[in-house]
């Protein structure tokens, strides 16, 4: 019983597939909050082979609940990688051509240092003693990992949703160290609505008595219900009304008539309950608090005197900004704001709003238009930068 409740990740980080590096030993990671992380671990996975001149590296940035396994069977859930459609031999992010790197974000729970990691001072999990982190901190940590790999210039940094925020942060902070940036279904800042949805999720977790003020692992407990509710709520925002309707309509779940009770009468209820309960098996509640907070704090313009364009001054990065017409979490207007800021500095930018009714999650799904244009964009960038990939 004790071992089951203690192991937040059913697999300990030493047993996770992929790679693992301890960073920040000599140069500590100074966080935006002022706190210092030294040392810290980054867990990452790679696909393909880094070429001789280290010019074919693509950094894939994952979303809120993603991890470093975009293109293989997930070690915990045994499900397909979250970007299996995009990454692999002969696919858009072709592993025969590119060296794909994906790391678990700072604050995460799949091997990278986060609130469930052991605090070296107390020998207990950090819990809420873990410093609050930002998208900037995540990217700074990634940069240290890329330096560790000896890669001077990434061919591309790409990601959807929170991954897109990291892409924008990369392009803003380390623009001279990447050729191309592809923020998909993202935003240059979190809107009031985005923050509001996250706050509901966090409150659900914190209202669960088993959260124990964040010390659940010490108390041998887990806030399963709170985290499940947070996931259920968030999951709705990843879809769209037409997509939900197409998938479930008002169909009943394994019954012919309504029960006049509070069972999952409807298929959509059953689906959300399943989403919630399966999520808690692979994700840490405190990580959910920290990472949603990092997203809420993201506002690229504010760091640059309130003018987003200043974040990209003199940039030589080639951008491809993508949004989805039915995404109401990070609607097209957010991407267009980024495009206008890039126009204002005469940056090289392409922008496409993909027509789809699949909502925010469209970036993870089979969208041939996205795959086709992204492929063309990357080929064009290779020609333009005269890389031999």
């Amino acid at each position: 019983m004790k071992t089951m409740t203690l192991s937040l990740n059913p697999i300990s980080k030493e047993n996770l597939p992929g790679h693992h590096v301890e960073l920040g030993v000599e140069t500590p990671l100074k966080l935006d909050s002022g706190a210092i992380l030294s040392p810290f671990d980054i867990a990452y996975q790679t696909y393909g082979v880094l070429n001789q001149d280290k010019s074919n590296a693509i950094l894939v940035c994952h979303a809120l609940t993603g991890d470093q396994y975009p293109a293989e069977e997930h070690p915990v859930t045994k499900k397909d990688g979250w970007w299996k459609l995009m990454i692999g031999p002969g696919k858009v992010l072709d592993t025969d051509r590119y060296f794909i790197i994906c790391s678990n974000v700072l604050g995460g729970c799949m091997g990278t240092t986060g609130p469930s990691s052991i605090d070296p001072k107390t020998k207990q999990p950090f819990g809420l003693k873990f410093p609050v982190i930002t998208i900037g901190d995540m990217v700074r940590a990634q940069k240290m990992m890329i330096d560790h790999l000896g890669i001077e210039k990434l061919f591309c940094v790409i990601g959807g949703s929170m991954g897109a925020m990291q892409v924008l942060e990369w392009a803003s902070k380390y623009g001279d160290q990447l050729h191309t940036a592809v923020p998909i279904a993202g935003a240059p800042r979190h809107s009031a609505q985005n923050i509001a949805f996250h706050e509901v999720g966090r409150q659900a977790i914190m209202a669960d008595p088993e959260w124990c003020q964040g010390n659940y692992s010490i108390e041998n407990k887990r806030p399963r219900r709170g985290l499940a509710v947070a996931r259920m709520e968030a999951h709705i925002t990843y879809l769209s009304e037409p997509a939900l309707h197409r998938k479930f309509g008002r169909r009943l779940q394994e019954r012919d008539q309504i029960s006049y009770g509070f069972d999952a009468d409807f298929e959509v209820e059953s689906y959300l309950r399943h989403q919630g309960s399966s999520f808690v098996e692979r994700f840490d509640a405190n990580s959910y608090l920290y990472i949603t907070r990092a997203m809420d704090y993201f506002d690229l313009a504010v760091e640059h005197g309130g003018v987003l364009a200043n974040a990209f001054h003199d940039t030589e990065v080639r951008f491809f900004v993508v949004s989805f017409s039915s995404d109401w979490l990070y609607p097209t207007i957010e991407s267009r704001t980024v495009v206008h800021a890039l126009n204002a500095v005469a940056a090289n930018v392409s922008f496409l709003e993909v027509q789809t009714d699949k909502g925010h999650d469209a970036f993870l799904l089979d969208e041939p238009v996205l795959h086709e244009t992204l492929s063309g964009f990357l080929d064009g960038a290779i020609r333009h930068s005269r890389l031999k990939l």
Binding site: N343, A346, N348, V349, S350, F351, F377, D379
Partner: protein, 210 residues
């Protein structure tokens, strides 16, 4: 893909526009369609080619060719560009579909050293005759639209355009009229001949020096 494109002959106005553009310059093509002109310029004239296109199909085709194109339109997506961001800003047969041609023209000469504008001349004698003979709004030969669903909401003649340039203080550096046999004639200011005989017109504009 760009190789295939260059084998195809350019639309007559695009060919002329391409000839107006000096090699190695920065070009923004507004309403760039599937990127035919941009691909031609990038391929043959070493141009830093950018585009704006309204349709997803057009943007898709452009980006898939490796061109830098954003989905947007001339009315709403030009304002953020800094002044003189481009050597040439091209508006090929798109002015008539903008909501505010005056604002668009003013912006073109702000963000570009030169603006190149082409349009179908509604003052052509055939168009005038068609209205007299048939009593119906003439639609361009190639158009699939009727008067009620056409995106072309601000059609003009050569004379209309020249008047507007004067009103906005725009200097016409080059004016060309093209007939249906792609014969090119220079347009002299307020030329009634060009207004009667030109199927299309192409103007190169700059800001009037103050």
């Amino acid at each position: 893909m760009t190789e295939e494109l260059t084998d195809k002959p350019l639309r007559s106005d695009l060919k002329i526009i391409s000839d107006l553009i000096s090699p190695g310059s920065r070009v923004l093509d507004i309403g760039c369609g599937d990127g035919t002109l941009l691909a031609h310029l990038a391929e043959n004239k070493n141009i830093d080619a950018r585009g704006i296109e309204l349709s997803q199909e057009g943007v898709n085709a452009c980006v898939a060719k490796g061109l830098s194109v954003i989905q947007g339109n001339a009315d709403t997506d030009l304002a953020d560009y800094p002044s003189n961001a481009f050597d040439y800003v091209v508006l090929g047969q798109t002015l008539q579909a903008t909501r505010s041609p005056k604002d668009v023209l003013t912006t073109l000469v702000r963000i570009g050293q030169h603006a190149i504008v082409s349009f179908v001349n509604v003052g052509h004698w055939r168009t005038r005759l068609s209205l007299i003979l048939h009593g119906r709004v003439p639609v361009p030969d190639a158009s699939h639209y009727s008067w009620y669903d056409s995106p072309d909401i601000h059609l003009c003649t050569v004379l209309d355009f020249v008047d507007l340039c004067e009103e906005l203080g725009l200097k016409i550096d080059i004016g060309l009229s093209i007939d249906r046999n792609t014969k090119i004639q220079p347009i002299r200011t307020r030329s009634h001949t060009a207004n009667l005989k030109g199927d299309q017109a192409i103007f190169q504009l700059t800001r009037e020096r103050s």
